[in-house]
């Protein structure tokens, strides 16, 4: 509590300082948009590749920065709350992979559809969930995005179908959502995310086939962070060219640490789907800084040097920051100011997530079935009955 208050105070003090500095320079001094040379995607069964010369406006850059920084800070806060045993159970963090969620979101519309696995905090945020709702879900409170009943792995919001715990199971669902888009002719696309480990599950291939057979507007995205739990990609996959594993489905291999690469590739993929060309596959080469879940320190199957190397050389936030600064698209002070306000938002959310009440007992058994009249559910002994409504 005390640290909390002092953090907020410090944040305010810094912000005041920052404001003073920023105001010394007017916004007119900044470049409002710049062109960037990005890494070329590897392509499979495609004639063209996404553009390598791309434009980013100052506003876009600031927004990507803020969102990536929010996800990063949120995950670090979750780590802290977990260690304090305020968050319990399973918790998989997304730090390191921010450019994937933010780049994908920048390449599609909020009216498009998205489904992912259990590493879901970042997507919940980019899809429209608030930090407060996410943190409160992590701590299992009423204000959580799934009413405190889902926890880390099960978060949902509009056009975001979760948050799924069973590895690979979400991918055929995503293909089904794509069928709905096609059937309704709404020109929307469905994005299904899965990991490099999940890429070896049979259902993924079943989904590829159905999507290609029926030319569904499905974007299959493999977030290749090099490990599925403790197993590196080389030890689990006969081919680590995940973008080619759809065989008859076109594919792109993308630098998943560069938000602009991800954005361009996603736009390209969405255009492909919207043009009625059927599904497309993307492999995002990325990295998770944390271990697999909170119980995994993440250093028994990879070296500390490897993690440091990625952090030092290809951190998605640093990359964007450097680009903005070196192109005079923002000032250090301005970015710092964003950091401060992000930190405050996270602190406030954490405060909420630790004080909001837990779901009430009456809700314990709700939503088992759809039922008009309440159903009786046996409690922890035969004499206690709980009501279940939906």
């Amino acid at each position: 509590m005390l640290t909390n208050i002092s953090n907020v105070l410090r944040a305010t003090a810094q912000r005041n300082g920052a404001v003073a500095l920023v105001s010394a320079r007017t916004y007119a001094d900044f470049t409002t948009e710049a062109s960037f040379e990005i890494k070329k995607c590897d392509i499979h069964k495609l004639e063209e590749a996404p553009a390598t010369q791309v434009v980013m406006t100052r506003d876009e850059g600031l927004q990507y920065y803020r969102v990536m920084q929010t996800i990063r800070r949120m995950e670090l806060k979750a780590d802290q709350l977990y260690k304090q045993k305020i968050i319990r159970g399973f918790c998989h963090l997304y730090d390191g992979q921010e450019a994937c969620a933010v780049g994908i979101e920048a390449g599609i519309n909020l009216t498009d559809h998205l489904i992912t696995a259990y590493r879901a905090h970042g997507y919940t945020y980019t899809r429209g969930g608030t930090v407060k709702q996410i943190m409160a879900e992590l701590t299992g409170r009423r204000g959580g995005i799934a009413k405190g009943k889902g926890g880390s792995m099960h978060m949902y919001t509009k056009n975001f179908y979760g948050g799924n715990g069973i590895v690979g199971a979400q991918v055929p669902l995503g293909a089904g959502v794509a069928l709905a888009c096609k059937y309704l002719e709404n020109n929307q696309v469905s994005v299904s995310l899965y990991g490099d480990g999940a890429a070896n599950q049979g259902q993924i291939f079943e989904a590829y086939n159905m999507a290609a057979l029926w030319k569904l507007p499905a974007i299959f995205i493999c977030e290749n962070n090099r490990y599925g739990m403790g197993t590196s990609v080389e030890r689990s996959a006969a081919s680590t060219d995940y973008y080619k594993r759809g065989d008859y489905i076109s594919g792109l291999r993308v630098d998943g640490m560069d938000v602009l690469c991800v954005r361009e590739a996603t736009k390209f993929a969405a255009d492909h789907c919207r043009a009625g060309k059927g599904p497309i596959l993307m492999e995002l080469q990325t990295y998770r800084y944390h271990g697999h879940s909170m119980s995994d320190p993440g250093v028994s199957y990879r070296t500390r040097e490897e993690i440091q190397e990625v952090r030092g050389k290809s951190d998605p936030i640093s990359l964007l920051k450097d680009r903005m600064l070196s192109n005079n698209m923002a000032s250090i002070e301005e970015l710092k100011e964003i950091d401060v306000s992000v930190r405050k938002e996270i602190e406030d959310a954490a405060q909420f997530a630790t004080t909001d009440p837990e779901p009430p007992l009456e809700e314990l058994c709700n939503h088992i079935f759809y039922n008009d009249s309440p159903m009786e559910v046996r409690g922890t002994n035969p004499w206690t009955k709980l009501k279940s409504v939906s």
């Binding site: 045993k85 599950q201 197993t231 030890r235 689990s236 879940s293 837990e358 058994c365 002994n381 206690t384």
Partner: protein, 426 residues
């Protein structure tokens, strides 16, 4: 990985169980039965962290199998696998991350000792793992597959039920995969939530052609696992994950087997038969002691051990003697294996029964998942005083569930049911 194991097992080192059973002689809705120990406030942090819903009760040391060594349950599993790899050159072990020891450390050191061609990691694909195991087994290998959690066995359900179980029958005994053993961590752990808590034995108990086995302790685990591996039928061996570290015994170092389909009478008694398996045996033992102490009721505690095919004879003989039966398992009641036992016993022992058979289960009948949804709530329902450290007072003492379900603790809950079964006796 190692770390996951650490996470999972934390808090399961049960030295402490429910410390105070209220003196309430009435069992009306169980409300007065359990009183939280008033001393819970003064418990040390570590004690609080380690409190579970049961106390592991080791069996007396057995010496008939040669020298013993202190082992916990995961080490006794490793020891069984070690013996197998040493004695059977055709034995291979595979599964997700098993080469590094597996999530629960059950295969630690085996790759280094026996080579990476005998202990190897598979990709993440349960259906493939089991199908592959069936193929290896039918071709003559002793195939030991690990499914990382029982909760993840469902992608392999078809391979188990349609392929493994029916191979012998449909080939007129020309082919079989009896050399296949599937191991999987099983059951509640307190904070496992939706996908790390399930007890799916009843799904498989519906399927002739496979055997389903669940041990209660390190000594039983090793002997039963070695029996499963030796058995000429495909076997599923579910390991109570909460016991991996919490259960420690003197385990024989050499190979030995404990017969399958033979229930173990862990305590003899004359008034009521208590049947359970896995972790729940320890709850039942505690209930039995309590019944003796508080009600003067003598309980016979039976560990079923093999769920399929189960030992009808031992259970029925006991019920003929006692006239009363209480079965308790972790899985949901509806369609749970207790229902099968109950129906068989009704048929075999109808005239011997003095009271209706009672089933009890740890969590909820409609769905165990229900309460597992929120890790905090599932923790609550499982444990008397788990690690709600930061806001313990609010969560533990003032938590709405605590207030309204003061009997949501397991031993007292079973005890309460037992009182109804044995009511004319006291």
């Amino acid at each position: 990985m190692a770390a996951a194991a650490r996470f999972f097992i934390r808090g399961a080192n049960s030295k402490l169980s429910i410390t105070a059973i209220g003196t309430g002689s009435q069992c009306s809705f169980g409300a007065t039965l359990v009183k939280l120990s008033p001393s819970s406030n003064s418990r040390t942090k570590s004690q609080r962290r380690h409190a579970a819903h049961f106390t592991f009760q080791p069996d007396p040391e057995q010496t008939q199998y040669g020298p013993t060594q202190k082992m916990n349950l995961f080490q006794s599993v490793t020891s069984a696998l070690d013996n197998t790899l040493a004695n059977d050159p055709t034995a291979v072990i595979f599964g997700e991350d098993v080469a590094f020891g597996g999530v629960f450390r059950c295969t630690v050191g085996l790759r280094d000792k026996y080579g990476k061609d005998r202990v190897f990691n598979t990709p993440l694909c349960e259906q493939g793992i089991v199908g592959f195991g069936i193929g290896a087994a039918v071709a003559g290998a002793t195939a030991i597959a690990e499914i990382q959690f029982a909760d993840y066995i469902y992608p392999a359900f078809d391979q188990i039920v349609n392929e493994a179980a029916k191979y012998r029958y449909r080939s007129g005994n020309l082919f079989d995969c009896g050399n296949l053993t599937i191991r999987a961590p099983w059951g509640c752990v307190g904070h496992g939530s939706l996908y790390h808590s399930q007890s799916p034995e009843a799904f498989f108990a519906h399927c002739p052609g496979i055997k389903v086995v669940i041990p209660r302790s390190p000594v039983q685990a090793k002997g039963l696992l070695l029996s499963c591996i030796a058995d000429q039928n495909p076997c599923i061996f579910f390991e109570p994950k909460i016991l991996y570290r919490a259960a420690v015994e003197q385990v024989p170092v050499e190979s030995y087997t404990i017969p399958l389909s033979q229930a173990d009478i862990v305590q003899e008694g004359s008034d009521v038969t208590l049947v359970a398996w896995g972790t729940q045996i320890h709850v039942m033992r505690e209930v039995a002691n309590m019944a003796q102490e508080k009600l003067g009721v003598s309980c016979e505690v039976i560990d079923l051990q093999t769920i399929l095919p189960w030992d009808v004879e031992t259970v029925c003989k006991s019920v003929v003697k006692t006239g009363r039966l209480l079965i308790s398992h972790e899985a949901p009641i509806t369609g749970g294996f207790a229902a099968e036992i109950s129906s068989s016993v009704q048929e075999e022992c109808f005239l011997n029964l003095e009271a209706p058979i009672k089933d009890d289960q740890l969590l909820n009948p409609v769905s165990q998942l229900l309460v597992s949804l929120n890790p905090r709530l599932s923790t609550f329902l499982l444990r008397s005083s788990y690690q709600w450290r930061s806001a313990r007072k609010r969560h533990f003492v003032d938590h709405p569930i605590r207030k309204q379900h003061p009997d949501g603790l397991h031993v007292p809950s079973v005890f309460c049911i037992l009182k109804t079964v044995t009511s004319p006796l006291h």
